[in-house]
Assembly symmetry: none
Homo-oligomer: 214 residues x 4
């Protein structure tokens, strides 16, 4: 549960396992229970560390939370996302993006949960940080992609790139949030395979759902 491989970058050798263990446990707790639902005692217990130790490493609960946030941000960053998107057509790029984006979410569910919870918070002064760090990256990339498609005459010029981006991201996010609820609905067959959903979604966004009449 605790990744000792984190000492890969050996610049801060002294920070050691203690810090790492705490951070690791904290990421899980904050993601699952939210800020207020998370207790430092539980984190300390999970990390097998004295509670006071948390304060030596992170100063306060807020400090720990921020560290968790930062850590998650890097994992969610589209730059780190791994697989690069490269396809000749914009159509294909969007398909790839939709799929990779969804996969990324499921690879880091904790990060996403935390991020979404933060979005729901009313007065969070951290919203902006998250927006810049996570959302804007994906968003801007998508918009750029659409713009290029429009320039290449592939995407209709009447489309608002931002709306398309929100629609795609939103459809992914909502699927992520409610997947286990959907599974109990009739008329739902996609929920089993993430890929299936992604493909069907791309298709709708690309070609619409209306029959082409004219």
């Amino acid at each position: 549960m605790i990744k000792r491989s984190a000492s890969r970058d050996q610049d801060t050798q002294t920070s050691g396992q203690g810090r790492e263990a705490i951070l690791s446990a904290a990421k899980i707790q904050f993601a699952e229970q939210g800020y207020h639902g998370t207790t430092l005692s539980l984190i300390a217990a999970h990390a097998k560390v004295c509670k006071a130790n948390i304060f030596h490493h992170f100063g306060s609960k807020e400090g720990l939370y921020l560290a968790v946030l930062k850590d998650y941000c890097e994992q969610l960053s589209p730059l780190r996302g791994g697989r690069s998107i490269s396809a000749p057509t914009c159509r294909e790029q969007l398909r790839q993006f939709a799929q990779i984006h969804l996969e990324n979410m499921f690879n880091e569910p904790g990060a996403v949960q935390l991020f979404l919870r933060e979005l729901l918070a009313q007065d969070s002064h951290r919203k902006e940080m998250l927006a810049k760090g996570v959302l804007e990256g994906n968003f801007a990339r998508l918009v750029q992609m659409v713009r290029e498609g429009q320039a290449a005459g592939e995407i209709r010029s009447t489309i608002d790139p931002a709306v398309l981006a929100v629609a795609l991201l939103g459809a992914d996010v909502f699927f992520f949030m409610a997947r286990d609820v959907f599974q109990h609905f009739r008329d739902v067959s996609f929920a089993e395979g993430v890929e299936d959903y992604s493909k069907a979604l791309s298709e709708i966004l690309l070609t619409g759902c209306l029959v082409e009449r004219d």
Copy 2:
């Protein structure tokens, strides 16, 4: 302290001056701060009621929360949604739905926030209740609508109605969640008017974003 005059000429609303005040305050608090972030002291203060009174009426914090949830559920129920959707074409029906759904969310932001937070909760035993009470109504209605469109030859038969439903709901929900973040992005012009977004979204879902080549 609570308008004793107003409720007197009402029907038998006497049972619940205090109860109503508590519930009202609780709805706001739970929506804004979440379950763990909400304190009964604050609710009592806002309702101008003794803290012990909360327990007299709702038994426990959990009991109060459940009452809030139930209350919100009824407000979010699509049946109560008010404006009925009636249009000759499926295309128009979907447009209307998208818009009304979005409006409903903005009319009851607290309910939506609570609902979404509950969706994010890992182990919530209330998820199912919420799913049935709120989500399924909208979802089933959308699916039915698409099915009819397919039967009428208006909607492509290759479309999975469930995916379309998730996409539409998701796009709305995500817009609701992140609206104030989007406003700080460049390339975003829709965020000001809810209607504009709704229209543009419907357009994309209906006709897609690709240029029709053939």
Copy 3:
């Protein structure tokens, strides 16, 4: 559980079932849980009466407790004890007393428990009332009995009547208190039948346990 036959003495018809039901429930609760362990809510629930009603009838928790105490006192009073003691010899009288006393305790275990708990209380200002009402009656009677036995030359004159009384009462009380503990001990055969214990006890107190040597 509630004796409605209590309306036997119909002098206070108005006091009715409510008062009676409360008192009845209170007797049980106070006996089983003690003063601090008893809650008025529970009494009200058991009596199927509104909590506020208790205050109308008894004024306060203390008032109710006092009423219970008084009620129990009358039941424990040796006068009401029913079977009168009448035997030609003091020896026989003591035997009878020991047995009847023990039986009385087991007939009103609640009263005894309450009484003993009160005895254990450090600063109880009710101790005196109980002492006069319950203990002194039995005690004085026993002492008197012994005195007569001494006058009649039946009881040794060197015996302190008070010590004998304490010994007899104490042996009974302790048996009552610890009966279910004793049952788990080896070497204990008396605990099953109350009568057996009483007889054996009387025998010891009367003739001692030493072999008569001289």
Copy 4:
């Protein structure tokens, strides 16, 4: 309140200044007021410790109570009772036992009060623990003593050792419980000196109160 100087020069008694103080205060409170009548706030105040500290050391009120119980048990244990009983005759042994037992009770009145209160509790799952820990020791010892007396021909063989044991213990316990009540009775002269009572009691149990006729 607790000798901070005394324990410093002791051996590693450092672990438990607070703990010890809490336990000490708790013993007094629980003994005097019973479980339900005791408040942790008061204990904390008496121990000059933060209330939260109690939970740090004992986990809960119940935990603290159990610790108190355990502590008292050891003090009441007949093994620790100090003065050993050694006399040539069983008669003398019983006399000694009666006296030492009574003295022990008065030396640890709190322990005895707690113990007796627990005996009065209806549903106490701790009864057995107490029975084994405290009562059984004394009881078995007495029974054994009597058995030996019977084997030596000193004690009548018709005597049930268990009954004699209960009588002796009960007479002591009852004297302990009701001493201050007895003092207000006429006809009572023993209550002043514990020794006097003990002697008189032993005499009765040994030789009975009847005049030896034959």
